[in-house]
Symmetry: C2
Subunit: 141 residues, 2 copies
């Protein structure tokens, strides 16, 4: 999504385009798995005085407009990302906390089977799945 695109999307929905919102959208496309805090930390340099509450409020607005989405990773803060990116599942390492992404198609068979047997329609992009990453797995059990 280009700068133009979200500007239009914001304005057409009665939302204002502010320097803070532009900065947050830039951070969202630049950072790999940003949390509200990491977005704030990454931006205080270029946008001095940017408050954490603005980050939270902006993320809420962008979510409402379906420009961004978020996933919960363990007990920690959620990670946000632009929706245009190919949908992916977050895998969170129980040992080192690393977050690995895999395309949703990886779970296609699983979601199909569950839907067939229980009627539950899984959307695997909204939550992280735990496990042990390749690096940590080679060290111990």
């Amino acid at each position: 999504m280009t700068d133009e695109a979200w500007r239009d999307q914001l304005r057409s929905r009665g939302q204002r385009v502010t320097p803070q919102r532009e900065a947050i959208l830039r951070a969202l496309s630049a950072l790999p798995h940003p949390t509200p805090e990491s977005i704030h930390a990454a931006l205080v340099a270029e946008e001095p005085g940017l408050s954490l509450s603005t980050v939270y409020r902006t993320l809420a607005v962008l979510q409402e407009l379906e420009i961004v989405s978020h996933a919960h990773i363990g007990s920690g803060p959620p990670v946000y990302h632009l929706v245009e990116r190919p949908p992916h599942i977050h895998l969170s390492c129980l040992r080192c906390g690393a977050v690995v992404s895999v395309p949703v198609e990886s779970a296609a068979g699983f979601t199909r089977d569950v839907a067939a047997s229980t009627g539950f329609r899984i959307d695997a992009t909204h939550s992280a799945i735990y496990g042990v990453c390749a690096g940590c797995g080679t060290i111990g059990p």
Copy 2:
């Protein structure tokens, strides 16, 4: 797991058996998807003065001993349960909040594929997966 079993398991690992711990273990086997708070709420009647910190500390100990496990459901508090074989995956409905369980084998193909392609070894029992349950799915999109 019987009362005897966890008593032994606690003592054999150098942990003490206290009325509070017994009460918490009873609550874990009685309540469907208990959170630390709901365990505390359910026990204050029979164990007056039981503190929330004790619930948290006991759950941490029981987790360490692999007597209980927990799963994160959305941004809310985690739900705990006794480690049962067969292990379950928790599916959480985004509409009504219902928690549906499916055997971990449902995801066997998915976990195998991910391990093969990324080396990440998934343990799907540690996190809830979002979606829309059968009941809610029949009403709308």
